[in-house]
């Protein structure tokens, strides 16, 4: 079967990847276009990159987005690890059904609903408790953490459920405290999962337009909000330049993370083989 119909499968892959990558490649190519008309080639130029780095509004928004994304990712990893640990290791506890429902629901919830509901919450909280005062970085970060912790929870939970808990039990039998077991044994094993969770939470936050638009206030426009308001007016070459930089950074980041995880996996396999050999 595997030697049959290879032509069909190769065609599917070629067309599929062309569909996925050609738009991005064209975006990058036209970022070096001299002409202001994005789709007419007017010669090679890097002037749009210069214009981009002179645009204070975009730079400020990018800095704000990076700040929010990194705080968000760190918070989401902490909350998501706790939630994933509870779901994977604690068996039944009271309110578990509601809890597991609440950790997965944000994944399928339309962004407009999440954004709207968080905004009305923040408004009500401000009326009753006087906090958060106005809306801005704090509210965007809280909103993003609520969304992205769901992703981290799923990652951590699935990693823990495929993980053999005999190591943890052995440590427990030897008298280690639960917290120590977590930090010395569980955490190092799930570290790659946490890294990918962090990266995912970071990119989702960096990318989010809808939720941020609902819960942000005056003076706290994130990068997607600035891009959206510019793009609504039509294509502009400096956005192409910005997109190219982001694609480059993401590609580098994903490749580094991929190499790190691959190394970790190879080391794990080797350790397991050695352990198996030693056991014989």
């Amino acid at each position: 079967m595997s030697t049959r119909l290879p032509l069909f499968r190769i065609t599917a892959l070629v067309f599929g990847f062309a569909f996925l990558y050609v738009p991005i490649l064209l975006l990058i190519v036209y970022s070096f276009n001299k002409s202001r008309l994005v789709t007419v080639w007017g010669g090679f130029s890097t002037e749009w990159y210069g214009k981009l780095f002179a645009n204070q509004q975009i730079l400020n928004a990018a800095w704000l987005s990076l700040k929010i994304a990194s705080i968000n990712a760190t918070g989401a990893v902490i909350l998501g690890t706790l939630a994933g640990l509870a779901l994977a290791r604690f068996g039944k506890f009271s309110g578990r059904t509601l809890f597991s429902g609440m950790t997965t629901a944000p994944l399928v919830m339309p962004e407009v609903i999440t954004g709207l509901s968080l905004l009305v919450l923040f408004v009500a909280m401000e009326q009753i408790f006087g906090w958060p005062q106005g809306r801005g970085v704090t509210t965007i970060t809280i909103a993003h953490m609520t969304l992205t912790m769901a992703y981290v929870t799923v990652i951590v939970q699935s990693r823990l459920s495929t993980l053999d808990d005999s190591l943890e039990e052995a440590a427990m039998d030897l008298g280690a405290r639960p917290a120590k077991i977590f930090f010395v044994i569980t955490l190092p094993i799930i570290a790659p999962a946490l890294l990918s969770g962090w990266l995912l939470a970071f990119t989702i936050s960096l990318d989010d337009l809808v939720i941020a638009s609902f819960v942000s206030g005056p003076g706290s426009s994130t990068l997607p909000m600035v891009i959206f308001s510019k793009v609504r007016l039509g294509v502009s070459p400096d956005i192409n330049a910005l997109a190219s930089i982001m694609v480059l950074l993401v590609t580098i980041g994903v490749i580094i993370a991929g190499i790190l995880m691959h190394r970790q996996e190879v080391r794990r396999q080797r350790d397991m083989q050695m352990a198996a050999a030693a056991g014989k």
């Binding site: 499968r9 939630a83 509870a86 962004e111 009305v120 919450l121 912790m149 997607p224 997109a243 982001m246």
Partner: protein, 335 residues
């Protein structure tokens, strides 16, 4: 498992600390608090559950209750722009004003019906297209050499990591009247004048398929990859042609993957805002866009909340289908 272990108390403390702890333990408030905490089961384990639990209750469940509340209240020109539901009428009577007007408004105004039905139509067609594009790719990856699979899969996911907004933006340049596709076709001589593609439903379909393709490919791939290939060999031995084997064996067996992938595309597509806002016509009606407009342009919070509730009701069936497909997959994995 971990949490059931009792910490061996006081083993690690030095003599001085132990003496202080002894004295402290005799102190009535301490003992009272400790007994209380133990009775409630407040230990490390509880904190692990309680922190994310509290967070989600506060920032996920409570907001919904407020949205539900606002959906039943009346609009007023104030900040916040809705009237309280609970109202002290006179001295001791608490009056609840349930206002169904917002929902009646949705039913009566044909705009909302059109948006509702159009969202379902757009999401359905996009999901179908996504399946048609995604199935062959998933199939090809699942049947590729095992050394290639991870690389191919990573290539599918890689664009997903780059900005969604910018990926949608890329299609404006492609689909415009003087955009890349039209220029290319005119250069080839296939067409004489540009085809209008941007600001049509077609552009929205392309945008959704492009943005959500990984959601379709990943569950389909993990299903197809698990499949027992000896079934196909048996069918081939019995004289079945590859295409017939595909229709009678592979396709039915991959149904949980098809359903999971389709729902993962359909659910976000129904409430999508960015794609219709950037690629669709200015008057294209999608429920996510209507909610956005009601909220930001009209400042009609109660109507926007009612639209949100209606959108949620629309998603109940797809979400149930998704969960069934996922649990079917999980069962298949255990076998």
């Amino acid at each position: 498992m971990i949490a059931k272990a009792q910490p061996p108390s006081g083993q690690r403390h030095s003599a001085g600390v132990q003496l202080m702890l002894r004295i402290l333990q005799q102190f009535p408030p301490y003992r009272w608090t400790q007994a209380r905490l133990l009775r409630w089961g407040v230990r490390g384990r509880t904190a692990v559950v309680a922190i994310p639990y509290f967070w989600l209750l506060l920032f996920f469940l409570v907001p919904f209750i407020i949205v539900l509340k606002i959906a039943f209240s009346e609009t007023q020109i104030a900040s916040p722009p809705y009237q309280p539901l609970l109202h002290w009428a006179g001295e001791k009577t608490l009056e609840i004003r349930l206002n169904l007007g917002n929902f009646m408004f949705l039913v009566e105004d044909s705009l909302y019906w059109k948006a509702y039905l159009n969202s379902i139509k757009v999401a359905f067609i996009s999901t179908l297209l996504c399946l048609l594009v995604g199935y062959p790719i998933s199939y090809a990856i699942a049947r590729a050499k095992s050394t290639w699979r991870n690389v191919l899969l990573m290539m599918v996911i890689l664009p997903f990591w780059t900005s969604f907004l910018l990926r949608v933006y890329a299609w404006i340049g492609l689909l415009k009247n003087n955009g890349f596709i039209n220029n290319f076709l005119m250069w080839l001589g296939v067409i004489d004048e540009p085809i209008v593609m941007l600001q049509t439903d077609f552009a929205i379909y392309v945008g959704i398929v492009y943005s959500y393709l990984p959601f379709m490919i990943l569950p389909l791939y993990s299903n197809l990859e698990k499949m027992d290939l000896t079934l196909l060999e048996a069918a081939a031995d019995l004289g079945s042609r590859p295409f017939k084997s595909f229709l009678t064996i592979t396709l039915p067996l991959s149904m949980p993957g098809v359903i999971a992938g389709s729902m993962l595309v359909f659910i976000p597509a129904v409430g999508e805002f960015v794609i219709p806002a950037l690629l669709g016509a200015p008057d294209s009606l999608m429920i996510g866009k209507v909610l956005w407009t009601e909220f930001f342009s009209n400042r009609a919070w109660p109507v926007a909340s009612a639209v949100a509730i209606a959108l949620l009701l629309l998603l109940v069936i797809p979400i149930v289908l998704l969960q069934r497909a996922q649990s079917a997959e999980a069962k298949g994995a255990h076998r």
